[in-house]
């Protein structure tokens, strides 16, 4: 623990931005949980930007965990020498995701209840359980790292994280993929999308937030390879949608979703951090698209209430939940860096 941190360390533009995000987003979150409802939802379009925020941050955390687990298992020192920083990133992002989810569920206690009254046939139960285990594993690894305890448990923990994180990402896809009767929510394809998008966004986050040359090179390589896979998946979806007769789908227009990944693939070496950010935004766009599109066609009697096909645009409170989730993640990562990383040399190598 770094005891040299002073108030001055918090008087920075980064902390100012984080504070604004926490206050404004937090106010919306508190209103949503305790007072009233501001989100642009109805009984047919129920999962909107706040849930997208959860998926986005949880998968990004998963991606960071997977890259770290890969480094530990393969003894890749360009990754393992940043173990603590990557653990802090993964924990911060996951807690940011849980914050967004709490506003979506309406209560923090609802996230605990999911573990107390389990239904193993439900993908959401598995998702909640796997991410809880993932969080515990990450915290255990961080505590062990802080206490300097490395040894026989390192590899089993790395394998455990790899399996749990991978399963969690696949299960998020299953939450949507096992839905029957909606036009854009079906099949194992979505589990592949969520797993690959976790790797893309996680690797891109490492490039963005840990700009050390050796790590940037390794994470950049993972980012480029997975971005290529993700672009292929997006292309498959574009072709599928273009030939679909279901009203509400974007058709060929979704081909624009390829642009961020093509740009990142071609130009990453010239401006890694900028293109990593572009890649992250591209992943957010794709995740947003598939989560929303699946709900746009009103089913049964709801077609009378809301129209056969709905349109959706996030409103300001929903956008502020995205800000809140990112602000919580950023605050925890900054706190971790300031308090827990003072005695670690993680220079550019």
């Amino acid at each position: 623990m770094n005891s040299n941190v002073s108030l001055k360390d918090f008087l920075t533009p980064t902390w100012l931005l984080i504070a604004v995000g926490l206050v404004v987003g937090g106010a919306v979150g508190i209103h949503e949980m305790f007072i009233g409802h501001w989100f642009a939802t109805n009984s047919s379009l129920v999962w909107t930007l706040p849930l997208v925020t959860y998926i986005f941050l949880a998968l990004m955390s998963t991606g960071v965990s997977l890259v770290l687990a890969y480094g530990l298992i393969m003894h890749d020192e360009t990754i393992t020498r940043h173990t603590r920083a990557l653990l802090i990133m993964a924990i911060g992002m996951l807690l940011g995701a849980f914050t967004a989810l709490a506003t979506e569920l309406g209560s923090l206690l609802n996230m605990v209840w999911i573990l107390l009254s389990p239904n193993p046939s439900s993908p959401i139960w598995w998702m909640g359980t796997l991410y809880s285990i993932e969080l515990v594993l990450l915290i255990v690894k961080l505590i062990m790292d802080l206490r300097g305890r490395h040894g026989v448990f390192d590899l089993p923990l790395a394998w455990g994280t790899l399996i749990v994180a991978g399963a969690a990402a696949i299960t998020i896809g299953a939450v949507f993929g096992t839905v029957i009767g909606r036009p854009d929510y079906h099949g194992a394809f979505l589990s592949v999308v969520t797993l690959v998008s976790a790797l893309v966004s996680g690797a891109a986050a490492i490039v963005l937030l840990r700009p050390q040359s050796a790590l940037t090179e390794t994470a950049g390589r993972v980012f480029r390879q997975t971005a290529l896979m993700f672009a292929a998946l997006v292309l498959i979806r574009v072709v599928y949608e273009a030939h679909s007769s279901v009203v509400g789908m974007l058709g060929w227009a979704s081909v624009w979703m390829l642009v961020p990944f093509v740009l990142a693939l071609l130009l990453l070496q010239f401006a890694p951090r900028v293109l990593a950010l572009v890649g992250i935004l591209g992943v957010l766009w794709v995740q947003y698209s598939f989560i929303i599109t699946g709900q746009l066609v009103s089913l049964g009697q709801t077609a009378h209430w809301y129209g056969a096909v709905q349109s959706y645009q996030p409103n300001i409170p929903e956008a502020l939940i995205l800000v809140l989730g990112i602000a919580v993640a950023a605050a925890l990562i900054k706190l971790g860096e300031q308090y827990l990383m003072s005695n670690q040399r993680q220079d550019a190598t």
Binding site: S117, S122, I180, G181, S298, L299, G300, A303
Partner: protein, 246 residues
Amino acid sequence: MGYGMVIDQQLCVGCAACTIACKIENNTPVGFNWCDKITRTSGKFPAVRYEYISTMCNHCENAPCVAGCPTQAMYKDASTGLTLHDPKKCIGCKACIVNCPYGVISFNWERPHQSWTENNRLAEGCFSPREMVEESGGEGSPHGNPERGTTYPVVRARGTVEKCTFCDHRLAKGLAPACVDACPSGARQFGDIDDPSSEVSRLIAKHGGKGLREELGTRPRVIYIRDYKPQRRFEPARPAGENQGA
């Protein structure tokens, strides 16, 4: 045993008495109904066809909402076959809504019947909404039905889902669901769909019938029999001159 409903499309006149009866019986808030309708218009003039399909929870044998619910808040009642909801276990994840292919589960984004908590009087000497609730002794709203509360909260909590229960509180007393009793044309029949000698089974055996979106494998327990076919109800117009001077 498994309760089910048969709706005779030939008898249904689309009057929406079922919708109103359900709303009153179950005290559903403004904004959604447990019992509602799908309407379809097809064909070209003059051969236009209009269908009115009364809808509610199908109490599917293979209910996707039950499979998708992470906390067992949505469950199948073993003794009746009903798909029921325990609001105490509901965490508001809305997985049941997304999983239901029929769009018959609704969510309480706000506290239901909130407008009845207001103290403002429209004019001096009038009741305020809150006073009306107090005066009537209703729960949540003046029309809150206390009998509903025997098996399910009269006013459901904010942040939970709700849907048709086939009026399980009435079934417990040997009564049919409110929508069945309210139907003026006798289009709705209710009973044990697993008992081959029941009226509902007899109607299905006689007319065939099918549930909504059966191809999904949900095995719905609301079965629609007969399509509506216009029938001549009146005597044909008589040729000009006939009966004249009678």
